[in-house]
């Protein structure tokens, strides 16, 4: 709806003012709840990140930039000299790598699946969507637990392999990088398939026929027609996988067993056993900044001109 200005004081101006007041009032409960209990807490950790850590958790109200300095450096207790300490940075890099790998594997598995779904007859498509939607909304903790049961030393895979005498000792899979990667893939695959499907469903398959008509091969049709046309879905799907994978908490917690941490676990640790709330707050803000930058870049690109691949 285009908002055209109106003559002040006219009947229409009055009516619009009434409507705006009413709509603002209707929206206010939801806005207030989120502002008070969603945004204010974020401001609090912003403040916390510039304070000193309390001895038993919490904060001491002294201004300090330690939380940010400690992200990259370690301060010598006696001399106060700063030395480069990449421990946190490495966890961030690991998390980015995990998230990227998850995104790529999800795309490789998800694209053919979404394409296959989009080429089914209408009534079958609905069932496929439901099948992909159910894991999307299912309890992530329980789903991760299910993966754990399968890849444990005494889990289903090792159990079967041992019974078949293919191996004599269980292969260690749990609490490894492989376990985390598998868990992330498993957790976020639906996040890739659904937007890809939404975009492929709208594809005009007459274009595909036209391409075949012009002597294109299957691969060329895929590369030159289908993929460019579904690019918005690919970008959206990648973002929807990358962002939550970067901030993953449950998956590395259960499948990494505390040994292989990601950013999410690092943050939680500072608020738990680490007892460094300012450090945890600064880490949380850095993660959020990364996510918001990705989202912002996405919004900027999608609202601009459509680019052709």
């Amino acid at each position: 709806m285009v908002d055209l200005p109106v003559q002040a004081g006219s009947l229409e101006a009055e009516a619009r003012k009434d409507a705006a007041r009413r709509n603002r009032l209707l929206s206010s409960p939801a806005i207030l709840i989120i502002a008070l209990f969603g945004i204010v807490p974020l401001l609090i950790i912003l403040v916390y990140s510039f304070l000193e850590a309390g001895p038993y958790g919490g904060v001491v109200w002294h201004f300090s930039t330690d939380a940010y300095v400690n992200f990259l450096f370690q301060q010598d207790i006696f001399s106060g000299a700063l030395t480069f300490a990449p421990a946190f940075l490495l966890i961030y890099l690991r998390s980015v790598l995990f998230a990227l790998a998850t995104t790529v594997v999800c795309l490789i598995l998800g694209f053919p699946t979404a394409y296959f779904m989009a080429t089914r007859p209408q009534h079958q498509r609905n069932w496929w969507v439901l099948l992909i939607t159910i894991p999307f909304w299912s309890n992530l903790l329980v789903r991760t637990l299910a993966v754990m049961f399968i890849i444990r030393d005494e889990g289903l895979i090792n159990d079967i392999l041992m019974r078949l005498h293919l191996i004599s000792r269980p292969i260690t899979m749990l609490y490894t990088n492989f376990a985390i990667e598998l868990g992330l893939l498993y957790a976020f695959l639906p996040f890739m398939v659904l937007p890809l499907y939404a975009s492929l469903e709208k594809l005009d398959f007459r274009l595909v026929e036209a391409a075949y008509d012009l002597y294109a091969t299957r691969w060329r049709v895929l590369w030159r027609v289908v993929i460019p046309a579904s690019l918005p879905g690919i970008v959206a799907g990648c973002l929807l996988v990358f962002i939550p994978a970067l901030g993953a908490y449950v998956t590395p917690l259960i499948l990494g067993g505390g040994k292989h941490m990601m950013i999410g676990n690092l943050i939680a640790q500072q608020f738990g056993s680490g007892r460094n709330w300012p450090l945890g707050s600064s880490q949380a803000l850095i993660l959020m900044a990364a996510v918001l930058i990705a989202l912002f870049a996405y919004v900027r690109n999608t609202t601009g001109k459509p680019t052709n691949g």
Binding site: D3, A19, A20, N23, L25, L26, P29, A30, I31, I33, I34, F37, G38, I39, P41, L42, I44, I45, G58, P112, T113, Y115, F116, T119, V129, L131, T133, I134, P135, W137, S138, N139, L140, V142, L145, A146, F149, I150, G155, Y186, V193, V208, Y212, R218, L222, I243, L246, G247, Y249, V250, I263, I267, A268, G280, S281, A284, L285, L287, M288, V291
Partner: protein
């Protein structure tokens, strides 16, 4: 299928059906294994001994399970009711209306819980309630969890309600007003009844995300405020029995049922 197809099916790509099948196996395999082993009569989780409902019986007699289920229901139901009501009003005030000052900002606020990583929301909410408790001595107990859940339930409830409103024909409201229905009666007799599928679908989603939440609950929950996901978390840190499978199966069933219902509600109208 033995249907005759043209010699070259232009739509199909080789191997794509296999990939789709792999995805389904990947997504459902672990869940199905977990569910099947909940029926295991033996004591060891992954060592099959026979079919029985023994571990369901154990779970239903477990006092900790009872209290966790009770907490979960109290939190999920309250958060669902409050968030769905707030989301419904907001959707009406923000959809199909002439843009008002602050509408774009309001839209961003509503969607904010979806954009902030869950772990960040969790530690921020923890800090918030710690500060409130420290500064004012206020601790709402389980109310803290209800509030935290309500916040992230709102955007989930909001989405289907907004979608439904966008599909709705504005002239119906005009027709009601034309037939002497003042705004409140138009809302009650026309808008609300037509909105019901969207509201139900939104409430179902809000309930699922509250019912399933682990990350935020784990960090915000105080002692004794165990919900079902927390109960499972506590179980897997001890030597496990198939009771975990039984309870997990119950949780999964609730989600699957609600998603299916919500899905069917939205499909039927089309």
């Amino acid at each position: 299928m033995a249907r005759t197809r043209p010699p070259v099916d232009t739509k199909q790509q080789p191997g794509f059906a296999t990939m789709a099948a792999i995805c389904l196996v990947l997504l459902y395999g672990p869940i199905l294994v977990l569910m099947v082993f909940s029926l295991n009569s033996g004591k060891i989780v992954m060592h099959w001994e026979g079919v029985s409902l023994h571990w369901y019986a154990v779970a239903f007699q477990d006092a900790d399970f009872h209290s966790a289920a009770k907490n979960t229901m109290i939190i999920a139901v309250t958060a669902t009711v409050v968030s769905t009501a707030a989301a419904t009003l907001a959707a009406i005030g923000m959809t199909r209306v002439r843009p008002w000052k602050g509408l774009t900002a309001a839209f961003m606020v509503i969607n904010l819980p979806l954009m902030v990583p869950e772990i960040v929301t969790a530690v921020a909410t923890l800090s918030f309630f710690a500060l409130i408790a420290g500064a004012f001595g206020i601790n709402l107990g389980i109310g803290n969890l209800i509030i935290a859940h309500t916040v992230f339930c709102i955007p989930f409830a909001y989405m289907p309600i907004r979608a439904r409103l966008e599909d709705m024909d504005l002239t119906l409201d005009h027709a009601a007003a034309d037939l002497y229905a003042p705004p409140w009666k138009t809302f009650r007799r026309i808008t609300l009844p037509l909105l019901v599928p969207g509201i139900m679908s939104g409430a179902a989603l809000a309930f699922i995300v509250s019912f399933d939440d682990f990350t935020i609950t784990q960090l915000v929950a105080g002692p004794g405020q165990t919900t079902l996901p927390l109960f499972i978390w506590n179980q897997i840190r001890r030597p496990m029995t198939p009771e975990v499978n039984a309870i997990s199966t119950i949780l999964l069933s609730v989600s699957i049922l609600l998603v299916a219902v919500s899905f069917l509600i939205t499909r039927r109208r089309r």
